[in-house]
């Protein structure tokens, strides 16, 4: 019981801060300049009564500076013998450098200022980007009108507003399951390159940074954590090199 209460402790904290946060969020907007983004999945482990990193969905770390972004694509390679896993290896198969203002993209093989360029490209007419980067497409997850506000909460030292709603999802067997969905969004930052619901962010100016799903025994969330801060010297070197290359080699249609 204690652990269960702890799990939802953020709700209680949010209640205490509710009035305060309600007014504070719209007061100032901090422009994001430089830092990293941690993209993560967490699934609730009912035995341990805590969220854990799911298999094969380890955290990803991306970098941003103004409207420039560096991301990566993970490749998980597994070997089986007679149905049992005998080895597993996760590597980064390639990096992407994005100029989000110009919508120019560059794929690199390694994270190095001398890395070889694999290809440069632009999104298609719908805003879809190779490797599934969702900067521009419509990936609507929440409809404010169908959702109920929950008290604000504090995560990573910032105030998050929340909306709760329900949806019916159809699984592989064609069975519809009602699931609860909670969206967490911040209205104190602007220029966030990644949001879990671009439509909502554009309409409200607030990036959606966590989506939580609860259905029967499944409880998990997707989270985008912004960590403003300086790059390491190595990261700075790579970012500068790729930024310069992008400036000198704009992608043509």
């Amino acid at each position: 019981m204690f652990i269960q209460l702890f799990k939802y402790a953020n709700v209680s904290v949010a209640c205490l801060l509710y009035l305060f946060s309600f007014s504070c969020c719209n007061a100032t907007e901090t422009p994001l300049n430089t830092g990293s983004i941690i993209f993560k999945y967490r699934i609730f482990d009912s035995k341990a009564q805590s969220f854990k990193v799911p298999d094969y969905n380890g955290d990803s770390r991306y970098l941003y500076k103004d409207s420039f972004f560096i991301g990566n694509i993970q490749l998980t390679t597994i070997k089986d013998l007679n149905g049992k896993e005998v080895s597993r290896n996760t590597t980064i198969s390639r990096y992407v450098f994005a100029d989000l203002r110009k919508r120019h993209f560059y794929n690199y093989k390694t994270f190095s200022d001398t890395a070889s360029l694999l290809k440069s490209f632009m999104p298609d007419h719908s805003g879809k980007v190779d490797d599934g980067w969702k900067f521009f497409i419509s990936n609507s997850q929440i409809n404010k009108n169908d959702m109920t506000p929950l008290p604000d909460t504090i995560m990573y030292g910032a105030v998050y507003k929340r909306l709760k709603g329900y949806s019916n999802d159809i699984n592989n067997e064609g069975v519809a399951n009602r699931s609860e969905r909670v969206a967490y969004y911040r209205c104190d930052i602007k220029g966030a390159p990644l949001s879990l619901d671009n439509d909502f962010s554009r309409q409200n100016g607030c990036p959606v940074l966590r989506l939580e799903y609860i259905q029967k025994d499944i409880h998990y969330y997707v989270d985008v954590e912004y960590r403003p801060g300086k790059f390491t010297p190595e990261e700075e070197k790579v970012f500068s090199a790729w930024e310069n290359y992008a400036k000198e080699h704009p992608v043509s249609n």
Partner: protein
């Protein structure tokens, strides 16, 4: 050269040697062995002994066995084309027992024919035994098994008799049990090298599946189909094919699996399927997956 092989060589009766054509590319040289040669096998049954060697189109010797023939009734030598017919699964013009030995005179397996048709197949089979009695070596029990062969080619075990036990340090020693000389390679093989005759039992295709990747709230499963046959009772792969792959997922994930490549390969003993693809999520970038599922024939065709 061992004494046994030398004795065999000295007693080959080339004056009565003959060819039997298995097919356009391969023929057998059938060389009777003089009665002066005394095999350790079937000593009390007065068998006809033949050295049967396979020759390809070159002609080059590809494999060979010492084969003993013990007729059912009248003691007459094996008729012309008997060995070619055995190899081609044909009906023989004689009935009796054929004991297939290595050229070093070690027992390989045995076939009995009734009214010209194959009736039984006998061989030695191993069963791993745990360490016991404080020994640090591992031991293997060997059994003499006889299989009935039915008209559709399927086989059924009809008898199993304990023959002997080998341990790490004595596996190379030949053992004579019930008139048969057995030798076991220390690697665990049957000993004796090239086998001339193969009993083939086609097996039904077996399905296989493996998880290509999973994120707890989703997983991708790939399906394969494996074909095989038993050759002298030992399962072998004859093929593997990729069938499909599907993503299964929990609420709200709405991910899409795209297979980019699937390849398969197999040898007699192992078959594998490599599947590559990506999972496209509603949020976040794609995840690339690559998984190789491998199966062993002994495991699949138990």
């Amino acid at each position: 050269m061992s004494e046994r092989i030398q004795a065999l060589q000295e007693n080959l009766d080339f004056s009565k040697a003959r060819y039997e054509h298995r097919n356009a590319q391969e023929k057998f040289a059938v060389i009777p062995v003089k009665e002066a040669f005394k095999s350790q096998n079937n000593r009390d049954k007065n068998p006809f002994n033949y050295l049967v060697v396979a020759l390809d189109a070159q002609p080059a010797l590809t494999k060979g066995n010492l084969i003993q023939y013990i007729p059912d009734r009248e003691r007459m030598p094996a008729p012309q084309n008997t060995f070619a017919k055995i190899y081609n699964y044909g009906k023989l013009d004689c009935s009796g027992k054929f004991t297939i030995l290595s050229v070093a005179d070690d027992f390989q397996f045995e076939l009995t024919f009734e009214k010209g048709g194959l009736k039984t197949f006998s061989e030695k089979r191993s069963k791993q035994k745990g360490n016991s009695g404080g020994r640090t070596t591992s031991c293997t029990d060997w059994y003499y098994q006889t299989w009935a062969v039915w008209s559709d080619g399927s086989m059924e075990l009809i008898s199993e008799t304990y023959a002997f036990t080998t341990c790490d340090d004595d596996c190379w020693l030949a053992k004579t049990i019930n008139g048969r000389t057995f030798r076991v390679e220390c690697s665990g093989g049957g000993g004796g090298g090239n086998i001339l005759y193969e009993i083939i039992e086609e097996l039904a295709a077996r399905p296989g599946d493996f998880i290509v990747g999973t994120g707890s709230i989703w997983y991708v499963k790939a399906y394969v189909s494996m074909t095989g046959r038993k050759v002298n009772g030992i399962p072998r792969f004859t093929g593997i094919s990729y069938s499909s792959s599907t993503i299964f997922q929990g609420a709200g994930v709405n991910a899409v699996w795209t297979k980019t490549n699937a390849t398969t390969e197999y040898s007699y003993s192992t078959a594998s399927c490599a599947v590559q693809g990506k999972v496209v999520f509603e949020q976040g970038p794609d995840a690339e997956l690559s998984r190789i599922g491998t199966w062993q024939a002994n495991n699949v065709f138990q």
